[in-house]
Symmetry: C2
Subunit: 390 residues, 2 copies
């Protein structure tokens, strides 16, 4: 049997291993120091009561013969697909339920969508980047081009007409930089994709953190996107589902390449290699869209965003250049004093007892930058700010 | 963008669509007739109380800050990996927890495991077959060879030394035929795989229906299998998880090809393209392995197996040749009177008001055969037997 040799080309990422090792070593030497972790990319608030109630009810249903559910539709139950459709409609984006595929999370679908595309495509990926975009394409042996996200373009690269690509990744609000594309910038990407005959893979996992009504929360707010884009979204950050696992992927019916419908391809992929999201989890996800659910999750989002604004305010006071923090839970800052990412990591750990994430771990353009997140507790966040400001 | 043209080679399966259409048409014309469905491949008994209690407790945990769980390990929580390890150990199969990967079901993993293998491999698949084995390889553009399962070999094909393959699928107890390989037969497959340098993909989704202690329930009961086999298993049929979604895949540490460890490859694939099974579901699955859970699921399995034995007994009385029904929830029968699969389907529907599944839908060797399942209620099963026996 011949292995997929592309796997041998993957680089091991030691980013979080190295962070953990350094933090443990420091803590062992200084057991009295209270370390604050602002590097965390996971949510910390529990699931909201509407979700909990809906999941308890669904668990009870699964225990009774009259209400037990076996295999469900691979693409998700209508009650949830319709709820997602209506959520988009509230923002003026008209989708059909058949264009919405319920998944076990954006990460799975962002990886698996590549099944639909030939290995003989060129991929365009921003740097710095969420590593999954890169690794999944290395696994498939595709040629990867990088576009520079940097201080000059505010970490929001725009299309370069001289570069031709087939598959383009955009993430807005961005992980790790927190930068958010405006409508005009996304329009430039849609026009470029339509011009190249490329597909845009739009990662909207952080859309719920956008508060500015002028900023687009879906690629489908942009004219023409239905002919070139697929959107990935998730309940992970919206409603604290990182350990509960639910997301959705939108594949418009108009999306055709070489006469083939990607919506039909994806349906075939999912019905062949996936068996749907647990009924209990889908009921929990549907509760996110009820009036109580919306009120409760917005309270949680607001909690994180107050943290983000507090960190952003501190950066401004300290005269540190940064992106994010306004419409994103991430604050991406330029390491003061010309420090490298890891130098700044060591400085923060040793001098301020604060842990963040070195930007260099997200790509070469991340060097000299640093990521803080808003997912900590209010108390820890405010204490970290106080330490930073001293 | 260039699509994956292999998707264009997939054949649409109209098997269950055609069955549904015929049943609806008959019912519309004969609204007074009570149709019994013995074609169902889904479980019908609700989740057992131990699982329900564990999931309620886990939902409650997710609603409180102190016990909330965010991202878990992609390969599953230790509490569940260890429980699966101990389950194997009870049958004398020693596994490490690190060799067990918790998944959202066998179907997903059987599809996704192919990521690890070059497209330039030859695949050997039995006919008749669970269609997922075929379609996932067509999607990847692999060359497929079929091995004949038929009345002569009891639907248990053995290796043909003249045929060389790289990836071999075995399913025992088999879906759709219910046939079960014995130890000696599986040993022949393991020896052949080791000899060819092939990987065996062993689908053990129905292992819990094996009551005969002489029959192997895991490929890892066979000497040498740790160097050539991957095993897929599921809580779907074992514990009624078809709508709850949990399974596990065993990739031994010794499994190496071209010096690469498939265990490490699979870990990399899962950490890159998957984010784990919901915490709540993993707690439910772990409860299956508690003493109460085991007692409760065995009661359910026994319920289905009484149905299976009743159907098998009726076949014997009617002098109909069949496989399965003893150590499997499927009964695969030779259509009496030389009828084709669909002729027998029409006969059963129209004359006996019983719905089953035409064997022709599972491959060319399924023609002239028919699948009945034990997943109906006792009452419906016994009434169907009475109708058949008249």
């Amino acid at each position: 049997m011949k292995i997929n040799e592309n796997y041998l080309k993957l680089e091991q990422s030691y980013l979080f291993t190295n962070i953990g090792r350094k933090v443990s070593a420091y803590q062992a030497e200084h057991p009295d120091k209270k370390i604050i972790r602002l590097g965390i990319g996971d949510v910390t608030l529990p699931l909201c009561p509407a979700v909990i109630d809906a999941m308890h009810a669904a668990v009870t249903e699964m225990g009774k013969a009259e209400t037990f559910r076996g295999y469900g539709p691979e693409q998700g139950y209508d009650f949830l697909r319709n709820a997602v459709r209506d959520y988009y409609a509230q923002r003026g984006v008209q989708l059909k339920s058949e264009e919405i595929f319920i998944s076990d999370g954006a990460k799975s679908d962002i990886g698996n969508i590549l099944d639909l595309f030939s290995a003989d495509n060129t991929v365009l990926i921003p740097d710095p980047v969420y590593p999954v975009y890169v690794d999944t394409n290395i696994m498939a042996g595709r040629k990867i081009l990088y576009m520079d996200a940097n201080e000059k373009n505010g970490f929001l690269p725009l299309p370069d007409p001289a570069v031709k690509a087939d598959i383009i990744y955009l993430c807005s609000p961005n992980n790790p930089t927190g930068a958010v594309y405006n409508r005009q910038q996304l329009k430039a990407w849609v026009d470029y994709a339509l011009d190249c005959g490329a597909v845009l893979l739009f990662d909207a996992a952080y859309e719920c953190f956008i508060h500015d009504p002028a900023l687009p929360r879906s690629i489908f707010e942009i004219e023409g996107a239905r002919r070139c884009a697929i959107e990935f979204c998730s309940f992970s950050k919206t409603a604290g589902f990182t350990g509960t696992r639910c997301g959705y992927t939108v594949v418009p019916e108009e999306l055709e390449f070489e006469g083939a419908s990607l919506n039909k391809f994806w349906l075939r992929r999912q019905t062949t290699k996936f068996n749907g999201v647990p009924y209990i989890v889908q009921r929990g996800a549907a509760a996110v869209f009820t009036p109580e659910g919306q009120e409760q999750i917005h309270k949680n989002i607001e909690y994180y965003m107050e943290n983000a604004r507090a960190i952003a305010g501190a950066m401004r006071n300290l005269g540190i250049w940064f992106t994010g923090g306004e419409n994103s839970p991430y604050i991406w800052l330029k390491c003061p004093g010309g420090r490298s990412s890891w130098e700044y990591f060591d400085y923060l750990l040793e001098e301020k007892n604060i842990v963040g994430t070195p930007g260099a771990g997200f790509g070469k353009n991340g060097e000299g930058f640093f990521r803080l997140t808003a997912f900590g507790s209010r108390e820890a966040t405010l204490e970290a700010i106080e330490r930073l400001s001293k």
